[in-house]
Symmetry: C2
């Protein structure tokens, strides 16, 4: 996988290094020389580059990459110009990091195909966890599928999964049980729920949220 | 749920507003008056506060909160002092946002119980997705459980789940199939895998990563 990362802030730098570690051929660029130097030992190639400069971008041969990530932050103009330049160069799929809701909206309009807004996504997960009693973990996998780890509803300890009727009552599936640090995946209907078990459930977000103690 | 948010940067502000929207009683504080004003319509209470000032913190009665989130960023010293102050006030569980690996390590050492590092978590997910051919979504739910959406391995289209032997070959469970926009949850062993289906799989991270086209 040939991956181009434009902008080496916290997200861009972290991404570039991880993608390289997972086997990607990573070219990492930034306008700031120090950041380019910092990341250079970890990636395939690191260059100083102003992404608002169309000619400089052309020299990278952007079409040769499988994925391009634009992770320029504070400078909204630079972030937007970089995406527009890449679109002008015929790049079909661009992943861009947004710094705010309005930034995300602008990026969508100018053709970024995937928007990443790390602070918002983490804030969402933490807000779900902390406002739902008994919810220990929460992940919205898709718009129609969430996975959560929850303490069992009050009346099910000592019952089998079948007798607990969790699926009928809450419309969620128990895909795993965490017991004494071990994970039992896809437990059968006769599995008895122990005191101190936590349940890993899956279902529509609106249903998963309702499973509380 | 009574929740105190200290620091209203992108993460803190987003978290405060969402937690309030999900029914939390949210007190949001920051040293910057403008940010306090911005968030005020959306939360229970918003105050200007310097979290390095122990007396100011005491006045908030931190022990009365179910959860405290310290989301001060750039100013590492302020972030650290806020956590130390709260520990001095006897607060047992503090959630703190980190801006870097070293920041996270310091927060751990001084007693933050849960560390959130949004850029790193998002970078991890994107790096997994982009370096694994055919992987469309990836979530590490726990250290021993990942969920991913993948294109089916080359030779399984047209076969039933049972005949595809995905579980034996890859040690992962197919917990859902995405077909034409619909989600089929917990498909049975006789479900045939169609062209253009994507599979939602679950298993240990090291096993999930191996399911590629
Ligand atoms: N024209 C440009 N060309 C290339 N890189 C640029 C340009 N303008 C800004 N950058 C780089 O983009 C990087 C990310 O920007 P910045 O640090 O403002 O973002 P951020 O959103 O706060 O990042 P993060 O949250 O990931 O730390 C910086 O390292 C900066 O040098
Ligand atoms: N002593 C303090 N007391 C209270 N708030 C503080 C203090 N010092 C800084 N803050 C606030 O913390 C907030 C978050 O800090 P900053 O914006 O630097 O973080 P960040 O990590 O870049 O945030 P994000 O990535 O969430 O945008 C700022 O709004 C700032 O005013």
């Amino acid at each position: 996988m040939k991956i181009l990362v434009i902008g080496l802030g916290r997200f861009g730098k972290s991404f570039a290094i991880k993608a390289a570690r997972y086997g990607g051929e990573v070219v990492a660029v930034d306008i700031d020389e120090k950041l380019v130097e910092d990341v250079e030992p970890f990636v395939t190639d690191a260059k100083i580059l102003d992404a608002t400069d169309m000619n400089a971008l052309k020299e990278l041969d952007p079409a040769s990459f499988d994925h391009i990530v634009v992770s320029i932050g504070e400078n909204l103009t630079a972030s937007i110009l970089a995406v527009v330049n890449l679109k002008e160069l015929g790049i079909e799929h661009i992943i861009a990091k947004a710094n705010s809701e309005i930034h995300a909206k602008v990026l969508e309009r100018i053709g970024a195909d995937e928007i990443i807004y790390p602070e918002d996504e983490s804030a969402e997960r933490l807000a779900m966890k902390l406002t739902h009693k008994g919810m220990l973990e929460y992940f919205e996998i898709f718009k129609d599928l969430s996975v959560a780890e929850v303490e069992p509803p009050a009346d099910v300890t000592g019952k089998s999964l079948k007798d607990s009727r969790i699926r009928n009552r809450y419309n969620v599936y128990v895909i795993a049980i965490r017991r004494n640090g071990e994970l039992l995946t896809l437990p059968g209907p006769d599995e008895v729920i122990h005191e101190n078990d936590t349940l890993v459930i899956m279902g529509r977000p609106e249903d998963v949220e309702k499973v509380r103690r």
